[in-house]
């Protein structure tokens, strides 16, 4: 079993990917402490939001400690651990929208189920079918989520019920909401890229994996921005 307190393997000098795992783990932990501290400072109606923000980074911190350990010891991508982290934290990020706007989370939850399940089917190949097809379903669910939370409204386009509620929110909710919409639109878009790089064999997008870029670094930076940034946006809305 991994033991990353007393017997943690050290990141070797020059191991930039390992370093980003390390930074990921400590920054997630620091963010968790920060959000928990702020939990006591915000208005009562935002307490659940702050708790969920802390939970997202807390769960990520646990998994980043694991991932760093696996990377340092084996230099292999911790895909399984990453998926576990996403499976647990993505629905919680979706929940933040419901908490901020008061709009039900039914549609977003269903879409996140479709996004995660089809994405996993495509990456694991356990049910057959082409990876591009599963990726398309997963991507469509992501696009619908982006629409629902009002990402298109950033450019004057239409928006779903959650986006409308965010845009009309009082106090700093509208500002915080806009930050969240950017996170979903830009921050979450790196995950389809990672999917394509991981499943490109025999697909029309073959060759993606040869891009001279360590996907772990991209994922680690993306995760840190998305998860901590998401919580910070919620905190910004809550403290108003």
């Amino acid at each position: 079993m991994l033991n990353f307190i007393f017997d943690a393997a050290s990141v070797e000098p020059g191991d930039f990917t390992g370093f980003t795992f390390f930074i990921g783990s400590v920054s997630m932990l620091a963010a968790t402490v920060w959000f928990l501290m702020q939990h006591g400072q915000v208005d009562k109606k935002f307490k659940d939001s702050m708790l969920v923000a802390a939970l997202i980074t807390g769960i990520a911190a646990v998994h980043y400690f694991y991932m760093r350990e696996q990377w340092v010891l084996t230099q292999t991508s911790p895909t399984e651990l990453r998926y576990i982290d996403w499976i647990l934290t993505v629905p919680l990020m979706v929940v933040e929208f419901a908490l901020l706007t008061g709009v039900g989370m039914r549609k977003l939850f269903w879409l996140s189920v479709v996004m995660l399940v089809t994405g996993y089917f495509g990456e694991s190949g356990i049910v057959g079918g082409e990876a591009w097809m599963w990726g398309l379903f997963s991507g469509a669910a992501y696009f619908l989520m982006a629409y629902e939370v009002g990402c298109l409204s950033l450019f004057g386009g239409p928006s779903g019920a959650v986006g409308n509620a965010l845009n009309k929110g009082g106090g700093k909710i509208a500002d915080g909401g806009r930050m969240l919409q950017w996170f979903v639109l830009v921050g979450w878009a790196i995950y389809p890229l990672g999917y394509m790089m991981g499943t490109d064999a025999g697909q029309w997008y073959e060759g993606m994996s040869s891009i001279p870029l360590d996907m772990n670094v991209v994922y680690n930076i993306g995760d840190a921005i998305n998860k901590i940034g998401f919580g910070m946006a919620v905190w910004y809305a809550a403290k108003g």
Binding site: M1, L2, N3, F4, I5, F6, D7, D48, L51, V52, L55, I59, V62, F65, E80, Y83, I84, I87, L88, P91, L92, V95, A98, L99, G104, M105, R106, F109, W110, S112, V113, L116, V117, Y120, S124, I126
Partner: protein, 287 residues
């Protein structure tokens, strides 16, 4: 901070310590036994008081009738396990789903929606079993069709994904007052279930998310000023439960278990749980 939340936080800290310090799996049986003996069994050891202290509780005409019904249910359940482990397990699961769910929703919704109670409990048990399904397959070798089921094509991420998806679908389809905190709390449980083995997962959930909160509620209901005095009240029946387990083992250590200690413990828990569920059902009615 409420005492119940504090209890759950204790469980979280313990489980994170287990994950971080990398507790060897050989210690999980010891951890399980310690939690069961100090928290798990004691929370049901005051049923004979709970059954009479709550005015809204099931009315037994006398203590004699209470003990008769209570012990009969324990014996009937044990015999059921001997005759058919499959039916014994099925009954245990159905009853546990309801009971665990009922206590889990306290603080998030009232316990009047029986279907919600069942579904929440079923979600927790489903995740507990799915995240440790290979281990469970080895334990439940008395149920042939399950033990022979080929699970080699599925990995653990798949089972976690199934658990989370079912939870999301369950949460959105029920009217729950504090939907998000309930979902968030169960998510933490799922993380623990994934990263610890079956015994540790069950011990942490059963001890700190179920039994300790119930012990706290019982303590408050009893209006006892001294917690030690209250705890002493749980000792006689905790010791009797141990003797029951010991007698069962002496009777025939291989009868149920083929030397499978975990299954043996499950049978004892199942037998003790059956009557306890009926007492608790009334106890938590207005919680």
């Amino acid at each position: 901070m409420s005492k119940i939340l504090l209890s759950k936080l204790l469980g979280l800290i313990l489980s994170l310590s287990i994950i971080f310090f990398g507790l060897e799996s050989s210690y999980s049986t010891l951890l399980f036994l310690i939690i069961m003996l100090t928290i798990g069994i004691p929370h049901g050891s005051v049923d004979h008081i709970v059954a009479f202290i709550n005015p809204k509780a099931r009315r037994f005409k006398s203590k004699f009738i209470f003990y008769l019904v209570y012990l009969s249910l324990i014996i009937a359940n044990t015999i059921l396990w001997i005759i058919s482990p499959f039916i014994g397990l099925a009954l245990f699961l159905v009853i546990s789903c309801y009971h665990f769910g009922e206590t889990q929703v306290i603080g998030f919704h009232n316990t009047s929606n029986k279907l919600l109670n069942f579904v929440v409990g079923a979600n927790i048990l489903l995740s507990l079993f799915l995240n440790n399904i290979i281990e469970l397959q080895g334990i439940l070798n008395v149920i042939p069709f399950f033990s022979e089921f080929d699970l080699s094509n599925f990995n653990r991420v798949f089972f976690l994904l199934v658990s989370v998806s079912v939870l999301m679908i369950s949460v959105i389809n029920f009217d729950i007052k504090r939907k998000v905190p309930l979902y968030a709390e169960i998510t933490i449980l799922y993380m623990i279930f994934y990263h610890t083995d079956l015994l540790t997962s069950f011990a942490i959930y059963f001890g700190f998310c179920h039994s300790l909160p119930m012990l706290i509620l019982e303590f408050e209901e009893f209006n006892e000023k001294n917690i030690i005095k209250f705890y002493l009240k749980t000792l006689p029946f905790t010791i009797l439960s141990l003797i029951f387990g010991l007698l069962l083992y002496i009777y025939d250590s291989n009868l149920f278990t083929n030397d499978n200690v975990i299954l043996f413990i499950f049978i004892i828990i199942s037998s003790l749980t059956l009557p306890h569920v009926f007492i608790m059902k009334d106890f938590v009615k207005d919680k």
